[in-house]
Symmetry: C2
Subunit: 358 residues, 2 copies
């Protein structure tokens, strides 16, 4: 177990969850379900006992240092990697891998997002343990794939091949988010899983794969590889990290590497990437409405998600399939079907009003 590491990525801004998720309080820090624990805290809690506490690393932005220390008082500052710039998942994962490799070249790493919902924690822990077993003596990149239950267009998909060992299958292709027609085809073939963005790999394997398929990134990090896990590391990262390309690990490595496997899992997962995902995972009343932190009087209104940051009274009529989200200084009212456009709307907000509302 001492070779096991977990990298929790918690530097995102969750822009599709705007205006709840804001630059100063992204969604991973929010107690979305009123359970008393934020999504990040739940992510941290659920790997306890699988990975030693001191082998848990968080990769984030320095602006969230205070939030992290408040929410995870057990985590010391040397467990947190502060990215000097936002560069998507590939540079984030690369840094964590170099850092861990300098400490323990036999490390087996689990990479986990901090803003997902997992309903069946016991099953989750069994899956993670099986995953660590699978990668123990192999040169492989393992991803967790979720059995799809609907033609979701908000997720990437993984096509699996025939070759398999237990619940693990060889990956044929990684695909981008499909449109609805294609998503339906994916589902009908039975060959596609949702890409959960959770990975397990030996540190040696991910570094080798990166050197082969994303050398633009490894070249940057290997300018002075001796700096990792020393007191020069932060200064070094400050100087080299910003020159990394903005690229996802899927695009940089997973779509290209030949030794990619998927563990097919089913533990009540949602990436909670969108209001619609939150809607799907929340308790609905008899009219299909979900309300969060508000008193609501809804007339002739169905299948809405209505969320207020303050404990506000909402009176609505004639609303169907809408997202209504109020965050004190911002009010968002859009059809649920347009949730993927919220990012565009947030861009418009930035163009028109600068960073004030982000």
């Amino acid at each position: 177990m001492n070779n096991r590491y977990c990298v929790i990525m918690c530097g995102g801004v969750g822009s599709r969850f705007w205006p709840y998720s804001r630059t100063d309080l992204p969604k991973q820090f929010i107690d979305f379900f009123g359970t008393g624990r934020s999504l990040l805290q739940m992510s941290y809690d659920r790997i306890q006992g699988i990975v030693p506490k001191e082998n848990i690393l968080l990769v984030t932005n320095r602006r969230y240092a205070k939030l992290i220390h408040e929410q995870l008082p057990d985590v010391s500052d040397d467990q947190i990697l502060y990215e000097p710039a936002r560069r998507n998942t590939a540079p984030c994962i690369a840094w964590a891998a170099y850092h861990i490799n300098a400490k323990n070249p036999n490390a087996k790493i689990m990479v986990a997002p901090s803003d997902h919902l997992i309903l069946k924690e016991d099953e989750y822990r069994r899956c993670i343990l099986r995953g660590f077993d699978f990668i123990e003596n192999r040169d492989v990149l393992l991803t967790l794939g979720i059995e799809p239950n609907r033609p979701e267009t908000g997720y990437g998909y993984i096509q699996v091949g025939d070759e398999c060992e237990g619940t693990v299958k060889k990956v044929k292709t990684f695909t981008e988010k499909p449109d609805l027609e294609l998503a339906k085809v994916f589902i009908s073939t039975g060959e596609f899983m949702w890409n959960s963005g959770m990975f397990l790999w030996p540190v040696k394997s991910i570094l080798a794969a990166m050197r082969q398929h994303a050398s633009v990134i490894t070249d940057i990090f290997e300018t002075d590889i001796s700096a990792f896990a020393t007191d020069r590391e932060n200064e070094y990262i400050e100087s080299v990290f910003p020159s990394c390309p903005n690229i996802s690990i899927d695009f940089a490595v997973m779509e290209k590497a030949p030794n990619v496997y998927v563990e097919c899992v089913e533990f009540g997962w949602s990436d909670l990437g969108t209001w619609g995902a939150l809607y799907d995972n929340s308790l609905k009343n008899s009219e299909g409405n979900v309300t969060q932190k508000c008193k609501a009087l809804l007339f002739n209104s169905t299948d809405n998600i209505i969320a207020m940051k303050s404990d506000k009274l909402v009176v609505a009529s004639g609303l169907h399939d809408y997202i209504v989200a109020d965050a004190d200084d911002v009010l968002l009212i859009v059809p649920k079907a347009e949730e993927q456009k919220i990012r565009l709307y947030v861009n418009e907000v930035k163009l028109n009003y600068g960073d004030e509302y982000l």
Copy 2:
């Protein structure tokens, strides 16, 4: 001119304008158009020079004393009649008439609501002066009727007869708010005016008409008629006023009296009774949207009125013909077509949550 009096009714709560109009700050006290003057202040301003300042009376509720003194510092406390209970317009007008009659039995009274919009003030003043002239030596009840420009279902209508003198015609009938079909018939006949709720009459005439058609009210006020305009008046009113029936002047007197006339006027009037009326009277952008006190980014959204009390950012998509009104602790989202139902919704709020949000 010294016989002229004006009674401004400003005790209403404007529930159709909820949640902007609240029990603690009804719409007449709000600067709706950002001009720097509230609707009450504008009502007061526009009769200056027509009625002596000291002959202007305000009828209201004691909870608004502070607001009135702040907004109208020229008005002294003995010009304000504080109703001990809310009893609609007939008892309100009756009290003012008895009060004025005790001071000046030759008084000619104009009764004005405090929450209407009048765009052409010069024309308004000419109409009021013509009205005072008409009632000077007659035993009549004169109402101001507005030439209708659409089959509005939110107003009462007045049917006029042939007999006329200048712009004044004899009234045939007062009617309640019609449904849309009936309103269209009213418009097509050319015989109907909108009932503005503004009246002019000799104090003798309104008291005589009340004694004849609403004796249940005059009997109450005449328990001790010597109390009016003395230092016993307030105590007297406290004891007798609450036993008055809750009834409008239209229903109690105007629909029944034979000597009712209407002056046909056109001075850019709206009763601003509803969000729709405010929408109609506000500047629209090219998509027909009206926004008040907010920054708005509206996508695929037309013909809405969006009003925020704080200077809030609103991002909306796919909204057509809606009222979106945010008042810090309350958010209202209803189709414009349902504006007449807002009162019902407010009742539901009261039933569910008590007075907190009224």
